[in-house]
Amino acid sequence: MRKELIAMILAGGQGSRLGVLTKNLAKPAIPFGGKYRIIDFALSNCINSGVDTVGVLTQYQPLLLNSYIGIGIPWDLDRVNGGVTILPPFIKGKQGEWYKGTANAIYQNINYIEKFDPEYVLILSGDHIYSMDYSRMLSFHKSKKSAATIAVIEVLPSEASRFGIMNTDDDGSIIDFEEKPEKPKSNLASMGVYIFNWRILKKYLIDDAGNSLSKNDFGKNIIPFMVRNGERMHAYPFKGYWKDVGTINTLWEANMDLLEYNPKLNLYDKSWRVYYNNPALPPQYIAQSSYVSSSVISEGCMVYGDVDHSIISTGAYIGEGSIVKDSIIMPGSIIGDYVEVNKCIVAENVTIGNGSKIGLNTRNMGSSKKLPITVIGQNIFIKENSIIERGAIVDCNYEEKTDIKKKAEEALA
């Protein structure tokens, strides 16, 4: 059945800059904002924009992502015609091959796209936090009669060299594109949201696949090549909240943004719900002994301790006398009694033993804003009365190391 527009979500990346958080799961599957996973934003944007055919390209650690997305019921993407399809790499002819780059991943799924014979293809990243109406971008694309439209957002000039930077002329047409330039000529950053005329993109993908020197990447190869070739390309300015959560710092910041009095990303907008896979847990319980301020807490949590300026995710437990501050506690983690957690990301299903101090400021590291973030990896068990220094990244069970840490504690005392 023919579709005007279909979406392809690139969800295969490892997200190596997130280190221990992506040890067992792909970046788009990382929990966010108390009850979501990062990919929920792209999937919800699709369905809220009326895009009902979505291919999700997975490669790195896809198990959780695959079972999480399933047949797309939570996003209303379980469709008779279209819906969500997980597209892992597969064997073709005698041998299989991995997705070599973002463009190559789309190239290898030309057959999937052709099945819907679309006029336009929307290419998305599964690792951005934003709410965006793609249907408006499509109208823009059509009105400009563009071959490709790239959504852009203004970033701080100091940060511009982290992004793909677009140089446009007055009518918004792209005259130059540089991926992570040292000396950016503008501050219009690519959001990794592209609409292509499928027939034109297909030609470039096939050419690119035949080029052994290419990195098979949209940002590095396809888009610069199209610009050089003089294709009609436009930048679509986006004004809302958008955040690339590719690093520990940006992931923490994006979560903390939700704690503002009126966050720029409005999760409470009933006409633009962010959907998620619901775990059927009872409501949260806030006990007599707790003090909760400026925080976001999700279903199934039990809070007996103090929570200040933090995100407490689905099914987490905060024990009595504990203090959680400026932190993200991911789903199912248990913080014991009399634990201090300070500026920390605690990944899923972690247990922190009673009396531990996580993110302890052992040396004077200056003001709170600049302090490094402490990260505790998934499924880790931290023994009672452990001390984890500020900025530490814990990626294995901490039991065996506690003796050393105890000495550190004694030394501190």
Binding site: L267, A280, P282, Y285, S293, I297, S298
Partner: protein
């Protein structure tokens, strides 16, 4: 329990629940922050492995139907069996109105006949409990019973307070020797829980027989009528059970959820209670909030003070407001500096700024849906 079908009766009218049942049947009353009362029995059935459930509806069943939908949330949107909603209907033979639960069953006799399970679990829809019915079925089979009814020994209650229930007396082998419906002086402390197991064929026969004699009540016209002739056994339920038939019992059952022992019994990890999903974001506690000993559902935004209360999904407690010992249902707004104590606010109620509503714990004030104060 593959060989059991479930039937849930949701028909009754409860005068004592008036404020909460203006626009819905009692089974659809919101409960516990994100549930409706029917979620408990329906989830209990599903968690016991029952895959064929009929829900008999009568009064104001729009909101119940909206809640249940295709049964997707309970995993009952099946090709084989699944969820069947059974509202009254008019034919040449019936009036389009159920005269009692037996009449309702008779009108849906073809659903009962068409089902293929050997046993039927027949239940009301006013109970809050979390159980699996496997043991009760084993008991039923081991006793070679005709009917097994579940009961609760209310030894923690004064006998005089039991006269609103059905009361059973049993011999030492658990066989029922007497049943009283709403007795003035209850003979025992054994209260019927409005749930029983019997073979589907027997249910069909009993319903057809009672109907042919113009008798329409399950307890009065079948259980009481038959306990001499049939082997009716009592199966004792040990866990937490609340029966909701008036505002006070609703209030007490709700506030009881603030005890961790109650929450542990109602929400064990291996038997979740399913409900309709609303896709709410997490709850947000803004700067000046103070929350003590309360249950808070997702999607709510809390800026004021909440003490010993149940806050449902999407509720907004504004700055300076104080909510104590109260139950605040979905999407209700409590305005700035308002004060509530022992109050039940139904869905979509709006309390403006600086209002004060004070009830008593043994006489809570209930405000109906969409009221503006």
């Amino acid at each position: 329990m593959n060989d059991v079908m479930g039937i849930i009766k949701t028909g009754g009218i409860y005068e004592g629940l008036k404020e909460l049942t203006i626009s819905r049947s009692s089974a659809a009353i919101p409960f516990g922050g994100r549930y409706r009362i029917i979620d408990f029995i329906l989830s209990d059935m599903v968690n016991s492995g029952i895959r064929n459930v009929g829900v008999i509806t009568q009064n104001n069943y729009h909101s119940l139907m909206d809640h249940l939908g295709s049964g997707k949330e309970w995993d009952l949107d099946r090709k084989k069996d699944g969820l069947f909603i059974l509202p009254p209907y008019v034919t040449t033979k019936n009036s389009g109105w159920y005269r009692g639960s037996v009449d309702a069953l008779y009108n849906n006799i073809s659903y009962i006949r068409r089902s293929i399970q050997k046993y039927t679990l027949l239940s009301g829809s006013n109970s809050i409990y979390n159980t699996s019915f496997d043991e009760m079925l084993d008991f039923h089979i081991a006793k070679k019973a005709d009917i097994t009814v579940m009961y609760k020994k209310m030894d923690f209650m004064d006998r005089a307070n039991l006269s609103k229930y059905g009361i059973i007396d049993m011999n030492n082998r658990s066989r029922i020797v007497d049943i009283e419906e709403k007795p003035k002086n209850p003979k025992t402390l054994n209260v019927l829980m409005d749930v029983c197991i019997l073979e589907r064929e027997l249910l069909k026969e009993l319903v057809e027989e009672a109907y042919s004699r113009g008798r329409y009540e399950w307890v009065k016209d079948i259980l009481i009528e038959k306990f001499n002739k049939l082997k009716i056994y009592g199966y004792c339920y040990q866990g937490h059970w609340d029966y909701i038939d008036n505002i006070k019992s609703y209030y007490n059952a709700s506030i009881d959820m603030l005890k961790s022992s109650t929450r542990e019994e109602l929400f064990p990890a291996n038997r979740p209670i399913y409900t309709k999903i609303k896709d709410e974001p997490p709850a947000k506690y803004k700067g000046s909030s103070r929350v003590i000993n309360s249950i808070v559902a997702d999607g709510s935004v809390i800026e004021g003070e909440v003490i010993n209360s149940i806050i449902f999904r999407g509720v907004n407690i504004k700055k300076g407001a104080i909510v104590k010992n109260s139950i605040i249902m979905q999407n209700t707004v409590v305005g700035e500096r308002s004060e509530l104590d022992c109050v039940i606010l139904d869905k979509d109620v709006c309390i403006n700024s600086e209002k004060r509503i004070i009830g008593q714990s043994n006489f809570p004030i209930a405000l109906p849906k969409k009221m503006v104060i």
